[in-house]
């Protein structure tokens, strides 16, 4: 346990392993010095994070982006708390290569751990500097001063506003590792359900998304994508499109085809004209979408044993074995990807809902053969992305098209069928697990293997962008890389948190990617937790034990035990509940990545015994994400994760035939609708004041999947090991 705890203390400083090597890295952490907390390690200067103007205006900078997870509000809360100013008094600038630090990608539930931690520490230090400055001016001891509402006050009534003090203060100084942070008991803004700052504009029609950006003189473009992955453009008859009134330009660059028009609807009609006028060569290369296990087994694998524990060998009384599969899953954002780009002279500006402005800039610059400094990428919100979807590709499309209409901003909006067919999916996965029970019904041995493609092909270069690949330069996609443990990619959460004396876990990394894949919320954790937690129930059944008790018997981590007990209690878990009645209860637990938030979920599912069709009733979750910044925001995230995971788990599968993706809209890629929404979802937050932030945005995905599957099995439906459960 100790090792994990130590690790946990520093986990705020973890660098996303697949992020690009940050230029400023290592600067902060001098040889042998203490490591700076959060992203301060990458960018240690205070003024990179916080600026205080002489006017008193405070601006906070984060390299993270709002993705609908409420990060804007949470970061403002953190900054307001440590600066002791009202939340409304702070301007927040998010991911922009010209203005904010490089924090890699907004992904992996890292935002609060990385950026929140950095800003909290930076804010505390800025506040201390402001107090010190006042103390210097007044010749008083800093400890005698207090801070109130953006002013430093002395006991004698003297006071100075932050702006006044900041005028003679240089914040371009390096952060220290040991800033005095506020005690949790003194919080006024953190640990409170502060209303999200982005919601009012979103519900009244304000400019909230890149989709809504309208620049003077802006043109509209549409791209014509090939019919399938391997297709190449043979010929293009652009006549009809070019003759259409309002069409500005048809762009052809290798197999990249686009049209630019004055009006959006014109661009769409012209896109349809072009699609009719395009001839493609297609090569049938896709495997059978329905046979996940056979498909993954057929690919060469690179194997890594990621856990090997050899304890005393107890007698195995029974051995169980199972195989679980998951198909390709789409992010299927509600708003298809969109970007605006503007080439002015030799400078290109791109507005994008990318998760990583810096990496995207580098890839776009490479694609266009421009120096990266000439490219600025600014994040504006898109619809929820849940990982790497079409955002970066749309940004590249806009960038490439903008170079053909210099001087005019151009907006590229993907069509629904393009979003569905061209986004990089969450990879199909296969798990084989075998375990034995001893006479006392405890797990004696555990052998687990997971097969998967990479879970990140995020922009590492022009070859990871569709426009880069389809353009005449035809950049090659970079070779896929596995995300190493402890975070893991396909093997994320493949190591169970349970105390197992004998265990082996093998990660089978599959390099060849017949289908385009990348990061989907929670990466491999959804599948691994689904498999592990389903199998735990199968073992509990074999051991004739209650599933919750069985888990507790194998759990040592006290925080894990707390969430398990809390979820079971709040749900009203009935340990003796009879199965097979058509109504089942299910339970599951995981700690995301084994280092972020803890989450346990109990749920009730009605199962139609004939059709096997499930209907989710009550769901109760308990979550421990360390110090809570915004409890309501956290609940919102977990609720969303549960409902989304229910949709993945029950209904979703990307369909394709030998040549083409066939899931191109909501008919062919059905997701959960209101009738199937659980009757209720209650999230119970276990507060851990003063503990480090633990990322929680993806913590619910795995446990929700397994809890549902377990409830279905208990209710009398069969044990379902192949996703999607309700369509298999």
């Amino acid at each position: 346990m100790t090792a994990r705890r130590d690790f946990l203390k520093q986990s705020g400083a973890l660098v996303v392993s697949f992020a690009l090597a940050p230029a400023a890295a290592a600067q902060g952490a001098k040889e042998g010095g203490p490591k700076l907390p959060g992203s301060l390690a990458k960018d240690p200067f205070l003024d990179a994070w916080i600026r205080v103007e002489a006017s008193g205006a405070i601006t906070v900078f984060t390299g993270k982006a709002e993705l609908g997870q409420g990060i804007r509000t949470a970061i403002l809360q953190v900054a307001a708390e440590e600066l002791d100013v009202p939340l409304a008094g702070i301007a927040l600038v998010t991911a922009d290569t010209a203005r904010t630090p490089d924090e890699g990608f907004t992904a992996g539930s890292h935002s609060l751990q990385d950026s929140g931690t950095a800003i909290r520490n930076a804010a505390a230090q800025v506040r201390a500097l402001l107090v010190a400055e006042a103390a210097r001016r007044w010749r008083l001891a800093p400890a005698t001063l207090r801070v109130e509402d953006g002013s430093v006050r002395a006991t004698d009534g003297r006071s100075a506003a932050y702006g006044e003090l900041a005028a003679s203060l240089d914040l371009h100084v390096q952060a220290k590792a040991d800033a005095p942070l506020k005690d949790a008991s003194a919080f006024r803004v953190m640990d409170r359900p502060v209303p999200r700052v982005d919601i009012p504009a979103k519900v009244t029609g304000g400019l909230a998304y890149v989709h809504d950006l309208r620049l003077p003189g802006m043109l509209h473009a549409r791209v014509v994508r090939p019919p399938g992955y391997g297709a190449r453009l043979v010929s293009l008859d652009a006549g009809a499109a070019e003759r259409r009134a309002g069409v500005v330009k048809v762009v052809r660059d290798g197999s990249f085809v686009a049209v630019v028009a004055q009006r959006e609807w014109t661009a769409i009609r012209a896109m349809q004209d072009l699609a009719r006028g395009a001839r493609w060569s297609e090569t049938p290369a896709l495997p059978d979408a329905r046979k996940v296990a056979a498909l993954l087994d057929s690919l060469p694998s690179r194997d890594t044993v990621i856990l090997e524990r050899r304890g005393a060998q107890p007698n195995a009384a029974r051995t169980l074995e199972a195989t679980y599969t998951r198909p390709y899953l789409a992010h299927a954002s509600i708003g298809p990807s969109c970007a605006v780009a503007h080439l002015e002279g030799d400078r290109l500006t791109v507005w994008s809902h990318t998760q990583g402005v810096y990496p995207d800039r580098k890839a776009i610059a490479e694609m266009l053969g421009m120096p990266a400094e000439k490219v600025r990428v600014i994040h504006l919100e898109g619809a929820g992305c849940y990982g790497h979807n079409g955002a970066d590709d749309a940004a590249a499309d806009a960038a490439l098209v903008a170079t053909h209409v210099p001087g005019r901003p151009v907006r590229v909006q993907w069509m629904r069928e393009q979003e569905h067919a061209w986004e990089p999916y969450g990879p199909a996965m296969l798990v084989r697990v075998r375990a034995s029970l001893d006479e006392r019904g405890r797990i004696a041995a555990w052998d687990y293997g997971v097969w998967s493609n990479t879970h990140s092909t995020r922009p590492g270069g022009a070859g990871s962008l569709l426009a880069g690949r389809h353009g005449a330069k035809a950049f090659e996609p970079p070779p896929p890389r596995a995300i190493p443990q402890p975070e893991g990619g396909g093997d994320r959460n493949a190591i169970p948190l349970y105390a197992l004396a004998n265990a082996r876990v093998t990660s089978h990394f599959l390099a060849p990617m017949p289908v385009r894949v990348s990061a989907l919320r929670s990466l491999g954790a959804h599948m691994n937790v689904f498999a592990i937690e389903s199998f735990m129930d199968e073992l509990a059944l074999a051991a004739d034990a209650d599933p919750v008790a069985f888990r507790l018997a194998h759990l040592e981590d006290p925080r894990a035990r707390d969430v398990v007990r809390a979820a079971a209690e709040r749900f009203g878990w009935r340990s003796a509940a009879r199965g097979g009645t058509g109504i089942g209860q299910g339970f599951a637990f995981a700690r995301y990545k084994n280092l972020a938030a803890y989450c346990a979920i109990a749920c009730e599912v009605e199962v139609d015994l004939d059709t096997g069709q499930p209907r989710i009733g009550r769901v109760v979750a308990a979550v421990d994400s360390g110090q809570v910044v915004n409890p309501d925001g956290l609940r919102n995230q977990i609720e969303g994760a549960i409902v989304q995971s229910a949709s993945w788990t029950l209904y979703e599968r990307v369909a394709f035939d030998a040549k083409r993706i066939r899931s191109v809209d909501w008919q062919t890629y059905p997701i959960l609708r209101f009738a199937s929404v659980p009757r209720s979802v209650d999230v119970h937050v276990i507060d851990r004041p003063g503990m480090p932030f633990l990322g929680s945005g993806e913590a619910g995905q795995g446990p929700a999947a397994a809890a549902i599957a377990n409830a279905i099995a208990h209710g009398g439906g069969r044990r379902r090991r192949d996703l999607p459960i309700a369509r298999a």
């Binding site: 979408a289 015994l609 029950l650 394709f656 809209d665 369509r727």
Partner: protein
């Protein structure tokens, strides 16, 4: 329209089944069982056969409320005469049929009399089920008695005079009900007879597809000439079929099993739940039904559809079609995930415009978590006049049929019925879109 209003109401009355007891029939009450029979009392193969037969009769469709548990009843049926709720046919002892002996179940199916000896409303189509064999009824009994018991009582029926008068059913039965098991027709082979037995009996196709008289009985002289049910028209499926494409047995089999057929289109409205259940029935039985039904239909199309080239018609309708319909209905994507070419559609060629209007107004609502076609409805965007213009245009330019009479009135009726009539979404199309392409 008067006739159709009455028959629609009565037909609706006949649709949802087992609608609750009424007058005593003069038949004795049959003794209750001590307790619901044990699961072990029925063999797995018997239960399995019962499941397939129950699917064929779509017991579930009427006896399951929206969002409710299977067979627990309570599905309301609104008729001009009041509201009828289907009964709980789970083996719950208190509120279901858990204490019914098999003989009582058989009598209900055959004679329309419940366990305690009361007449059942003909909304439960015992006029059809009476043809079923003892063995088949026994299998269905075994199946129902092994479903999870659900305690669920439904509110009492609310019917207007004279339908609320118990003796009324006795009179109705005396006039129209002819009990008796099915007799094979020696002029036909075994497969045809099997199909006929199922289609006319358990499948109760004619309950919807045959027009009814003023008292809600099927008109024997117009068997399969098309009827009305729950706001939808059940097209003629006999000699009077108006399909612009002649049905083949193969096409009919595919349609019934999957709920869609590549050239004829998708099942919708009250037929959608029927085909959803047929997917679970014995394939050989569905195939026999297809064989039988198609044998009754004309060999060649009553009138072939008109090609797009020869279109003429209502100019307002033409404009609406071109701007709102054409992109989906004349694309080159295959069914069921694209709009059907309207010259092939029974919607435009059928004897009643009602289904076409329902679909224009309310679309094909999306299924939950299943691959199924979705069509947006236009009830909010289009005025009655626009809907009528569009329907007129489709009729004029995609068929050579005479104009529908009373079109404007049916538009008003369809709108007044509201979107609820479209609420039963299509079931899964039994396939991934990838496989759809292969069948092209």
């Amino acid at each position: 329209m008067k006739r159709s209003l009455v028959t629609r109401g009565l037909a609706a009355l006949a649709v949802p089944a087992f609608a609750g007891s009424c007058a005593t029939s003069g038949d004795p009450a049959l003794a209750r069982l001590q307790a619901p029979p044990a699961r072990a009392a029925f063999s797995a193969s018997l239960v399995g056969r019962g499941a397939r037969l129950a699917a064929l009769g779509d017991c579930r469709g009427c006896h399951t409320a929206q969002g409710g548990r299977a067979f627990a009843g309570g599905r309301p049926l609104e008729t001009p005469f009041g509201t009828i709720y289907s009964t709980n046919i789970t083996p719950d002892a208190k509120t279901g049929i858990g204490l019914w002996p098999e003989a009582a179940f058989r009598r209900a199916m055959r004679e329309g009399v419940d366990r305690s000896g009361h007449h059942l409303y003909p909304a439960f189509p015992y006029d059809r089920f009476t043809l079923a064999s003892d063995a088949d009824i026994g299998a269905i009994y075994a199946y129902l008695m092994t479903r999870p018991a659900v305690e669920s009582r439904h509110p009492g029926n609310r019917l207007a005079f004279p339908f609320n008068v118990r003796a009324f059913i006795g009179v109705w039965k005396a006039l129209y009900f002819r009990p008796g098991p099915w007799q094979d027709d020696p002029a036909h082979d075994a497969r045809w007879n099997r199909g006929a037995y199922l289609a006319e009996g358990l499948g109760h196709c004619s309950s919807c597809h045959t027009p009814r008289n003023a008292l809600g009985a099927e008109r024997a002289d117009r068997h399969f000439d098309g009827g009305d049910a729950e706001g939808w028209h059940a097209y003629a499926i006999g000699a009077g079929s108006q399909s612009p494409l002649p049905w083949t047995e193969e096409a009919m089999r595919a349609y019934l099993r999957r709920g869609w057929e590549a050239r004829h289109g998708v099942s919708r409205g009250t037929m959608a739940p029927v085909t959803r259940e047929l997917a679970k029935a014995d394939p050989a039985d569905v195939s026999a039904i297809a064989h039988y039904i198609v044998s009754l239909m004309p060999r060649s199309a009553a009138a072939p559809g008109v090609s797009a080239a020869s279109r003429a018609g209502d100019p307002e309708g033409a404009r609406l079609y071109a701007s709102a319909c054409e992109s989906c209905h004349e694309g080159d994507e295959p069914l069921p995930f694209a709009g059907i070419a309207l010259r092939r559609s029974i919607g435009a060629a059928g004897e009643s415009p009602r289904n076409l209007l329902n679909v224009i107004l309310y679309g094909l609502p999306p299924a939950d978590g299943a691959t199924a076609p979705v069509m947006p409805g236009f009830a909010g965007a289009m005025t009655d006049a626009q809907v009528a213009a569009l329907a007129r245009y489709l009729r004029e330019s995609f068929t050579d049929k005479p104009p529908w009479r009373d079109l404007d009135a049916v538009v008003r009726e369809a709108r007044a019925a509201g979107p609820r009539i479209a609420q039963a979404p299509a079931g899964a199309m039994g396939t991934d879109p990838a496989n759809v392409a292969e069948t092209r």
